[in-house]
Symmetry: C2
Subunit: 405 residues, 2 copies
């Protein structure tokens, strides 16, 4: 059977691995050549890690399975009737089973023009871009003779109070307060402002209120101004309009909303909430045949709630589907997500963990966060490199990757 997997993220990779060494002929297509460990992408964006520390070539990860072919390509369209995928370069691939795992991207609620001034954080290119913007803003402030312009340049606005927004705001505050300290002569990076803007009543809406409260306090301790229940009205290269107030800013980071890649459109199906496509308990897309959807693009309810767009959901779905395609549906049963706990880190000694009944915060949560994230990296070499850089940063408060861009 010919199985085409589109997307080499957590879901697609897990599915391909589960199919590795099987009798099926598997093709994995991704528009980038690497699998990215997105949970640490904010550390690349803030100069703490190198891109390669959290990215591995997909073909290297699947090298040992001779039945798996990896292709660099971007999907242009799908013909569900003909069972064909068309790539941007004109190549056409036939399939017996198609697995879609193309993930989510940032959306700007109808203001796509904001993307230029306020990049989201999904790819290595995004992270390099944001790192360059942050560091360049401090450089331009040092060059400037104008106090107001210096203040604008050293102000960062992070839009969206989810885990990514919280992690970015915390890391940016630490960058100014600690890493860049004493390196400038005309500005004081420790006085740099960081604003975190959230439209909802509180940040970290998916976490219990007490953990969110703790995160808010920790952000305040780092000097981050947390604004909740405030709407972003406009975003330009010069700053952000929050409700009626214009806040001049040198760097703006978007972490406010994601939407599925246009899978519904490819399949000619009506998109669900967030552009997702509805799947059944076998992860098969409803309304077409032989097509499955995994991860951020799949809409699946469990216990009356749609499953969230998390790495662990994607990974478990990929593993399940790979196993099911290999061993049959009877052996696999229906898909069920098992929550392994939810975490976010604010900064040094400060993280939160929500395991349902057990909730952790502070130093222990922070240490656990670090151990879990090192463990989840795909290779031994990366684990060693990341651990070493974290230890070094812990001792010196330096950040080793301060390249523009």
């Amino acid at each position: 059977m010919k199985i085409v997997v589109v997307g080499g993220g957590f879901a697609g990779l897990a599915c391909a691995k589960a199919l590795g060494g099987s009798e099926h002929d598997v093709v994995v297509i991704d528009k980038s050549n690497h699998n990215l460990f997105q949970p640490l992408l904010y550390q690349v964006a803030t100069g703490a890690l190198s891109p390669a520390d959290i990215a591995e070539p997909i073909r290297k990860l699947l090298k040992r399975y001779p039945n798996v072919t990896v292709l660099l390509g971007e999907v242009a369209g799908i013909d569900p009737d003909q069972h064909q995928v068309r790539l941007q370069d004109g190549t056409t691939l036939s399939y017996n089973v198609l697995v879609l795992a193309t993930g989510a991207r940032y959306q700007y609620f109808g203001h796509e023009e904001w993307a230029q001034a306020a990049p989201g954080l999904k790819t290595i290119a995004n992270a390099r871009d944001i790192r360059g913007r942050l560091l360049r803003a401090f450089e331009l402030a040092e060059l400037s003779q104008d106090k107001q312009e210096q203040q604008r340049l050293t102000t960062t606005v992070v839009i969206g109070g989810g885990p990514t927004g919280v992690e970015m705001a915390g890391a940016i505050a630490e960058l100014g307060r600690w890493t860049l300290k004493d390196e400038f002569r005309r500005i004081d990076p420790a006085c740099a402002r960081v604003l975190l803007v959230e439209g909802g009543e509180r940040i970290l809406g998916q976490f219990p209120a007490e953990l969110a409260q703790y995160a808010t306090e920790q952000l305040a301790r780092l000097g981050v101004t947390v604004l909740t229940g405030r709407r972003v009205r406009d975003v330009t290269a010069q700053g952000v309009t929050i409700d009626e107030e214009f806040v001049p800013a040198g760097t703006i980071v978007w972490g406010a909303g994601v939407a599925a890649t246009p899978v519904a459109q490819w399949l000619g199906l009506p998109p669900g909430p967030g552009g997702r496509v509805a799947v059944d308990r076998h992860l098969a897309v409803k309304g077409v045949s032989d097509i499955y959807a995994l991860g951020d693009i799949a809409l699946l309810e469990q216990d009356g709630q749609p499953l969230p767009g998390l790495a662990q959901v994607a990974k478990q779905q990929g593993e399940y589907l790979g196993r099911a395609l290999r061993q049959g549906w009877e052996a696999a049963g229906e898909f069920r997500f098992h929550d392994r706990g939810n975490t976010a880190v604010i900064g040094r000694h400060a993280a939160i963990f929500d395991f349902g009944r057990i909730k952790l915060k502070g130093r222990i949560a922070w240490l656990l966060w670090a151990i879990v994230h090192v463990y989840l990296l795909v290779s031994f070499e990366k684990r060693l490199l990341v651990s070493l850089q974290w230890l070094w940063r812990y001792v010196t408060r330096a950040r080793g990757v301060r390249l523009i861009p």
Copy 2:
């Protein structure tokens, strides 16, 4: 006294460090925010190291000297009479003493249009670009169904048989033969062709003939085709015309000729060979006052030979000038370059060293090369990270940084 140093490379950094803590007011200007360890740039271009492993922020390196200010900026012009430097953004800086250390860039002998298809290797951006081209060529070959196109894509031509060309050719051959082995299904990366083209009679013209001969043999052992006494007539995105023969190629790397940055033009002086400006034994530029030139832009003869464009020349000149400006010319005396030996590496277990009377090649030279290069890195963290990645690569033959771009 106000001293403006333009360029934060080996020469400029050494000069600024020597002036650190002195009574002078020092400003260092560079168009990038980092000091780059160029001797290992070819390893970034071939996916063995991350850019940050060989680059440190200039302001971090000079952080401890309160009398030194670092500015990100590019020189637009110099007014030697008014003693002023003008930057691209319009900023003007006055100086009592101006130190120029802006280095060299690749030149294409009047064929600047070749730069698009055949990038040189001078900056981090260049290295990322070349890495992306190399890896993408293999990806496109795997996608292609056409044997001829696959062969073109997996052919790399390196133009210029100096140390950079030799190091690039060797590393690219190892990339195909070892690193990418077993990862492709439709092509065999071990069959990828690498050509090294040199216009002169032999490669590594600045090394003794016996060492160059050894390097040629080692390149052949890795599968590199070395062509000497051959002229490049044309370069396009499709390949290289060598004498009358067109060689289709997927990646082309330029390492054939460098020229000084346009310092002579800034100063209104006639450029010497390679665009350099003549300096006296105190490294003062002849024909203007209070302006010094260091490194690749300075033309200085010693024992009847112009000093070569090497890192060690640049560094020694920077140290000398900083000391002279601090302690006076009498204490400093005249500049004299002390040759610490010249080296190039071909690949695993194969390097050459020329210490004048003593010549080394093979395993011992290779080990010494590695130790010297780790030692020369600017910080302890980088030494640790690079050593670790080298050990890992030595054992596994993997390369950890295979991102496109």
